[in-house]
Symmetry: C2
Subunit: 687 residues, 2 copies
């Protein structure tokens, strides 16, 4: 599946490069809504982009801040997304007695809908180009560091004043490696309620084995509803439902929030990924996967507690395994190197452009710097420690002017930050203990057992004992305690003797140092990639799309099968195929369909109806839950995955075999009618 | 479980340190049969060692060359060991149609017994101290390298002439870090047949979750029979069965083959384990664990194929997790450091001994050297590549005189080597492909994708494609092909174009270089530890046991419970407890008892009979399958595990909570009678 939740943290710790890719081919591209690929659509598909069509699609699209996409699908606030995008919420709403995550959920009336503890949805309503305003803050004589600081300050100002004026969530997004800055303004929905989710057995049918494979037979869909003032929100822009299933050759559009691509990356950057970062990340993922598996072996309840995180880890591990496999195939780097060599040759041939070539060397140099920082541990992945760290830093940062704070503590982001900090989502002490113990063990491994900071952190104990003490003695699992600290402000936070806050204080200098170094490297990389973008535009001209930034983009493509190991893979599957797939795998383990499906098999569900399909649209993690629409803007599908051949699309798009995988829109309506006995809900879809 | 099969290769690649531990405490010690702890047994337990008693126990003990222990238990060649020690054979005898590994096996007559494809059992018949003969080869002026070479040559001579004279397998064993060399001579049994094995559900009841835990309820036992000239071998020395279950406080003895301990290790060596080697090994184990899990997800048959290896990996991962946790507890190193500091202070105070203190610095320096070599990859873990490498090296080494060859290619070991090379055990192409692909990926990660050797190995392909080609095009899966090469000798082997042999040729220089460096480091460490041993003896006197060397040792201890988290853990469990344990865990997954047990529950099996018990004897990996006997030398148990608190015993013995875990001897007889309907076999036990 396309959503690398587990790694969001990891990726953010890396340089968040967002820059200008080289030439787009075929159906490549994640296009900005304020710079759509009108020409290519007209020429290749005879499709003229109508502004109303585009505005409607834009405002029907929804961003899930937990890391995914969705769309409005009724005037009554209904939002469609993937089961695996909603899984964080499904998990938090589950209890030992009522396992919504595994067993699914259906609200038969509004008052049965369940409020998500900390979900925020965003609807993009306006994009403004603020490049000039940002650049005005920079003057000629500034050093790189001064420029970065001035830029950060100006961005914070723009965001703050936009928020104050409009009341909308206002984020300045860096595009084309800093060649452009756009202000994205969102209407926020923070009262989000669960309406329907199928069983995991249906949503994730085939489990880890089928993940990223095709053909597929998954109903990876969930419906939530946004509320305002305690009532379903009135929605003007929502998607209508197509009455027809897709067919091979159909032109389709995907409107969603691709998280991050790195198509601008140089050969040196790809080699760093291949030889350093991905091997490191995979070791870490496998470590956490085994840890969560082991915790789950302790009992059924522990298994339930670990499931959501385990799923996210497995998903990432499989995605990154595919990604490194792509990079380890010499043909991949060779293709990139050929393009790069040709571009560099052209630069060298032009005395005016020649100085820009130094940017490639600069990237290589910075990669060495990142290599050294790769294994540093300056924080611990545990929910409770996360609270401690955030609250502690909040106390310190709030003592500074808005534009000098660490970005997430700025005024503009306060509401979202508080929603996270004061979430009522359950905290499992056993799970926290196991996770923190492993993080402490990893901290010792990385710094060595004799390190003075290790001694200060461990207090003479081994990881298991120290973690047990910290979790047992901290009060941070109580929302009221967290609330008291946050409301008490800096002094109260600094005076707290909660052992996890004390630990966050001990870790603070190292955390800040490493973060500052990382941000400096990011800034230097940003500048190098800005030059690379400049060089690329100078040689190849403009008219391209920027790398993904978890902001709304439009992709397009056709419904199309492909060849694999000599076999033709058709673009669509149907309900009959799901039953057959289960039987072929002994209907056991992850290949067991839920009872609801077994009951509906004979005479109820339309076995010939399309269930999943593939298309050539250019997607990436974060696009999970994106609506797929036809030329008329009607919903025909719901993105939930990319096939294994698409996993290199982080750095290289290819439509030879790479495909986006969707649930058919018709299948969602059909399953609500014939499997989940929810005709009223089915009728609300698109109305 | 106590047998770290997966890591045997890894451990051998490391410095095989076998030296002299510091003072023995409590029931500590893995004693040599030619230097038994007579004094301590007499003083502490009033037990006088009778030479006949000891000789009988020694000759009743059996070594499994696949990595474990066992004992003769009838005059007709019956050998008792653990299910998990026999699992390599159970796995090789299993087919998609007949899953002996999972479902168990019972031969009701001799002609139903199944011949193991490549199992070799050894019975120790004679120990000779050859220290003087080895040392004679060394003269004063020799460099460290010359001395090592001379020593290796002399050892090969001694082994060869002992083999020629006696026809017995003859191995010279380095003890006390090179202070002593003993010649161990074994009668070999290579016709070994499976007689009885229980279901995995009974042998490994509780699975990975219960592994290394206590209380336990496992029937981890298997019976094989050795044959000579096609008939059951006549056995003079075999163990009688005790009619009584053990009781708390009983003195017991364990006679088995502990694989390796490192109690001589200095603080620097332990820190290297803590901060470098164990983190590295654990990353590798987790990687292989996920790989095997993923392969198993492809289908039931793949799951069966991967099971044996997966089990070994999980077992090692859990053991090493416990080991690193012990080392990360500052108290562990502190304890060792206190003893070391006190010893060093005494050395410094004595001008004659003072120079020996330099050995500790030398170990620290060599640890740095090992740190650098840690991540090198010069071979690939796959059965087929293993054949290729061994056959290729055999071809080269056979052109040299016996005493100049790599050790495993010496004349003395030829029969065992051929048994491995020409094994009829099945090779699974799919599994080999996946394993080799991952090894190639790891090779790229370690050396970097641009390395010239990587380019030579990969031939322009990615790991999956390259591995698929190699496995598809090699003929090494055919025994006849391997036989033809081995019999054809050096020239034929060198001329072969089998792609895996070609690959082994490409890898040879790096392999030899790394092995030579490793052996040099080992030799230097050996010399340093010999000095540390000398210093220890000078300060503390003699009368101790050498570190484990996978040779026969006698341990002793008492049947005794312990306290854990404030609770008293009684030393024995019974059959009733097994049924209760299953129910408490929902009788599902690894907590499902097999049908045979469920049928026997009411009125058949003696629910009060002891099933497992713990004692304080000092054991380690390799002791799995060791007989436990009482004062009369009668069998009362079968070692199969150590509890989690004993996992630090690699480097530090403790009997506060650390315990060896056994199947009760009575439980084996009882289950054969009442659960497995095998009264004839039950009657043969001990007769």
């Amino acid at each position: 599946m396309r959503c690398h939740q587990f790694l969001l943290g990891l990726l953010c710790a890396l340089a968040a490069i967002t820059a200008f890719p080289s030439l787009a081919h075929a159906d490549e591209g994640m296009w900005l809504y304020n710079d759509l690929p009108r020409k290519v659509l007209a020429e290749k598909y005879g499709f003229e982009v109508d502004q109303q069509w585009a505005d409607h699609l834009m405002q029907s699209s929804v961003r899930f801040n937990s890391g995914g996409s969705g769309s409005f699908v009724s005037s009554q606030g209904l939002v469609l997304t993937n089961h695996h995008v909603a899984s964080d919420t499904l998990f938090k709403l589950s209890t030992p007695e009522r396992n919504i995550m595994e067993d699914g959920f259906l609200a038969r009336a509004l008052d049965e809908e369940l409020k998500a503890p900390d979900l925020e949805l965003n609807q993009l309503v306006k994009i403004t180009n603020v490049t000039a305003r940002v650049n005005e803050a920079i003057s000629a004589g500034m050093s790189a560091e001064e420029a970065a600081k001035a830029r950060r300050g100006r961005i914070a100002e723009i965001e703050k004043s936009a928020l104050d004026e409009s009341g909308l969530r206002s984020d300045v997004v860096t595009l084309y490696g800093g060649a452009q800055y756009h202000l994205y303004q969102y209407k926020k929905y923070t009262d989000v309620r669960l309406v329907w989710a199928p069983e995991t057995k249906s949503a994730f049918f085939g489990g880890d084995a089928d993940n990223f494979e095709y053909p597929r037979f998954n109903l990876d869909a969930t419906l939530v509803r946004v509320y305002e003032d305690g009532k379903p929100a009135k929605i003007e822009h929502f998607l209508r439902w197509s009455d027809a299933d897709v067919s091979s050759g159909d032109l389709v559009f995907v409107s969603g929030h691709p998280g991050r691509t790195q198509r601008i990356f140089t050969v040196a950057a790809l080699k760093f990924l291949r030889d350093d970062r991905l091997p490191y990340v995979l070791d870490l993922l496998r470590r956490k996967e085994i840890l969560m598996q082991q915790y789950g072996l302790e009992g059924e309840e522990q298994k339930r507690q670990a499931k959501d995180e385990l799923f996210g880890i497995q998903n990432s591990r499989k995605a990154y395994t595919g990604m490194i496999a792509g990079l380890q195939d010499p043909a991949t780097i060779a293709k990139k190197a050929t393009a790069e060599d040709s571009l560099l040759a052209k630069l060298q041939a032009d005395p005016k452009l020649r100085p820009l070539a130094a940017a490639w060397d600069e990237v290589a140099r910075l990669q060495d710097q990142q290599r050294k920082a790769l294994r540093e541990v300056n924080t611990f992945r545990s929910s409770l420690y996360g609270f401690a760290e955030t609250i502690h830093l909040l106390g310190v940062e709030d003592g500074k002017p808005n534009n000098e704070r660490l970005r997430e503590f700025g005024d503009a982001g306060r509401e979202s930050l508080l929603q996270e900090l004061l979430s009522e989502a359950p905290i499992y002490a056993g799970l926290e203990r196991v996770k923190l113990a492993d993080e402490l063990a990893r901290f010792i491994e990385v710094r060595g057992g004799d390190d003075p900071l290790v001694a200060q952190v461990m207090q003479g104990k081994g990881p298991a004992d120290r973690a047990a003490d910290l979790i047992a003695q901290s009060q941070l699992h109580e929302v009221a305690f967290r609330k008291g600290l946050v409301e008490g402000g800096g002094e109260k936070i600094a005076a707290s003797s909660d052992p996890l806050l004390v630990l966050a204080r001990i870790m603070e200098p190292g955390y800040r140092e490493s973060r500052a170094k990382g941000e400096q490297t990011s800034e230097q990389l940003r500048q190098a990639y800005a030059k690379i973008t400049e060089a690329t535009v100078a040689v190849q001209g403009t008219g391209n799309y920027p790398d993904a930034t978890f902001t709304l983009r439009l992709a397009f493509g056709v419904v199309q099968g492909y060849r694999e190991e000599g076999k033709e893979i058709p673009p669509t599957t149907n309900f009959a195929g799901a039953y057959q797939h289960a039987e072929e795998h002994g209907s056991s383990g992850d290949y067991q369909l839920p009872d609801s499906w077994l009951k509906a098999k004979e005479g109820k569900v339309d076995l010939d109806a399309a269930l999943n399909f593939v298309c050539t649209a250019d997607i990436i993690g974060g696009n999970s839950g994106s609506p797929v629409v036809n030329r008329s803007g009607e919903l025909v599908g719901l993105i939930f995955d990319g096939n294994i051949q698409s996993l290199t699309s982080d750095y290289l798009y290819s439509d030879v075999q790479g495909r986006a995988v969707s649930v058919s829109g018709g299948a969602i309506r059909e399953s609500l009618r014939s499997i989940y006995d929810a005709p009223t809900l089915a009728a609300e879809l698109g109305n």
